[in-house]
Symmetry: C2
Subunit: 376 residues, 2 copies
């Protein structure tokens, strides 16, 4: 199967291609060398992915005639810190031949590796070119578009970072073979989100094809799925690169989802699982306002359930969630900003979700499933 | 005396004003509030300047109705580190009310404070607005234009940073009262550099007015001098924001100067003192090529001497300087890139300075002064 290319075009900047298909890691060297005037490359990865694919990435770069080395940091969100960021520079500036302005950083791995490596690229010598080689479905459909890079701070996630667009993204679907099914579903949750905010027809596609992908994520359908989702995210980001307007649509499911994720502790729920719950709650809120019908809600809920993503969760402490949501800078005077569907495939931003509405929506997560609940 | 404003215009970005005059620190609050939608400000300064002017800056901001706090780090280039950078975020994210995307960072101090605070602004929440309030002549004429921010790494100076343009620069010439004369001269060396690369008439002005400014840096002539120099640097940067072309002209005196500074250790020579020596050596090299006449060289040398800036230095180890210059990424195959005057007020970039030429030029720094040396 030939790779598919989605082009990301950004105002006032050069666009870049997102290439998707099996075996693309072997094309990494040619792609990087083709950027022109490249002296050397440095691959930055987490320890898990470095062991699986680090040698292949370096080998591809060297085969293209580039000096290339691998820098790894310990895997896990707990290591997305300023201290590890500083440690990567110790490795980067010790390389021989030395890094200079013509060097290229390659981010190899999931979201954490992409955020870390991208932030290194954004700041090494005040900005080096970089290429992303994501290896998780979540990173493929989410982190590969938008140019967001960051590390966490004890005060919150992604508080220190930069916008820095890559020169290209190579998504090798073969690397998904090593991804556990739960991690595949973690990314599929964001695909459902994209469908709800922009593409109702994608809901049908997901219903037909997505469930088996958790077991065979390297199947040809994955290339099509990733391409559709990258295209949706690219269209949103292109229209609003700095997040002031419609880019907020990408936060659908994330207001309540983030709160659930934070309250549970980040080692309890995967991001996509929390977003799945957040989308269900947001749709309850939207249905309560009459923006969508209960059949719309049930349709999305059945899809999520069919993908083994959570749509119910017992024991949620609404007061704790409320405090987290109010702490968000976008929420003022006791009202919470929510992205809500106005029909399947279209959302709008509302600044006025009340405590009562949110409490009611979250309480639905503890109840019976809507697909058996005529009152939903 | 009314403040003078020089506008910096950058392609594809909003420009910003550099205001220069006595008492402008008192206008800081009004200026920051006038940026619009500002929730709070955080003043970042080094410990020395924080003690002198931190309270005045915070008071001005609060008088304008803004939440404002002062964050200080220990003074000195040795503290321009990733570790201190991380420490500033600990303070920043502990502020109450909290920092959000509408917050503004104020950089108060010399070059180190500007570089640190600017890099915090570039990366906090992926980029906050910032305003510079420089308090040294060197920062006034150099760091206030260009948007360069950075911290050092053990492998070299300014290796980790970002380009991040400020929303404005307020240069309060009254803050120069506390600046030691040697530090004033440190900045005047960069003024001489600007004159040689772009404005021969400024050499006359400096000869007439500059020497007394080392003792009375708050005198009205300083406002004129700073405005002329900011305008020169702005014109260069505007034409070449990312340093690929004519912005290299600002490196006049810096190739050999940086090498002398690094070889001496950064606590021995001030930056401007090393640049003074570097300019003299570069002009010897230019004279050796017949690009300028010996009278041009003597004229600049007399000016520097009159400002008590060094034009001779005994005991330089050329082999050590050569190794440092070759290590620079711009220098390949044993040839060194040099910015050389082709007449007073105009320079060009040459990629072919040889070891022999450089050795001869550096050897002149150990000799008699050119103004008593007819063979110069």
């Amino acid at each position: 199967m030939n790779p598919v290319t989605v082009n990301v075009s950004l105002a006032g900047q050069r666009g870049y291609p997102v290439q998707i298909g099996p075996g693309l890691l072997g094309e990494l060297g040619g792609f990087v060398a083709g950027l022109g005037s490249v002296s050397r490359a440095a691959v930055i990865s987490d320890s898990t992915v470095a062991e699986l694919y680090g040698a292949a990435a370096v080998e591809s770069l060297r085969s293209a005639g580039l000096a290339a080395d691998l820098l790894a940091f310990p895997a896990g969100e707990a290591n997305k810190t300023l201290a590890r960021f500083a440690g990567l520079f110790d490795g980067l500036f010790a390389l021989d031949p030395a890094v200079d302005r013509s060097s290229v950083i390659v981010a190899l791995g999931g979201g954490v590796a992409g955020d870390m490596a991208g932030f290194v690229a954004a700041t090494a010598l005040r900005g080096l070119r970089w290429v992303q080689a994501p290896t998780t479905v979540l990173a493929d459909v989410d982190a590969s578009v938008g140019g967001k890079t960051a590390v966490d701070h004890p005060a919150g996630k992604n508080l220190v970072g930069a916008f820095h667009q890559p020169r290209g993204v190579l998504i090798d679907t073969e690397t998904l073979r090593s991804l556990p099914p739960r991690q595949v579903r973690n990314g599929l949750a964001e695909c459902v989100k994209h469908a709800v905010i922009r593409d109702a027809e994608l809901l049908d596609w997901l219903k037909r094809f997505a469930a088996p992908l958790a077991q065979t994520p390297h199947a040809p359908q994955m290339t099509e799925l990733l391409a559709r989702n990258v295209a949706i995210k690219a269209a949103v980001v292109e229209s609003d690169e700095r997040e002031s307007g419609v880019r907020q649509h990408l936060n659908f499911g994330h207001t309540i989802g983030h709160a659930i994720e934070a309250a549970a502790g980040y080692d309890q729920l995967l991001h996509g699982e929390a977003v799945s719950l957040g989308m269900v709650a947001a749709m309850h809120l939207a249905a309560g306002r009459g923006l969508i019908g209960s059949e719309d809600l049930r349709r999305v809920e059945r899809l999520l359930s069919g993908l083994d993503l959570p749509v119910r969760r017992a024991g949620l402490d609404f007061d704790a969630l409320w405090r987290i949501m109010l702490h968000d800078k976008k929420n003022r005077a006791g009202r919470v900003r929510m992205v809500l569907p106005v029909r399947l495939g279209a959302v709008e931003v509302f600044d006025d979700a009340t405590r009562g509405e949110l409490a009611a929506a979250v309480s639905r997560l503890a109840g019976e499933r809507s697909d058996t609940d005529p009152d939903a």
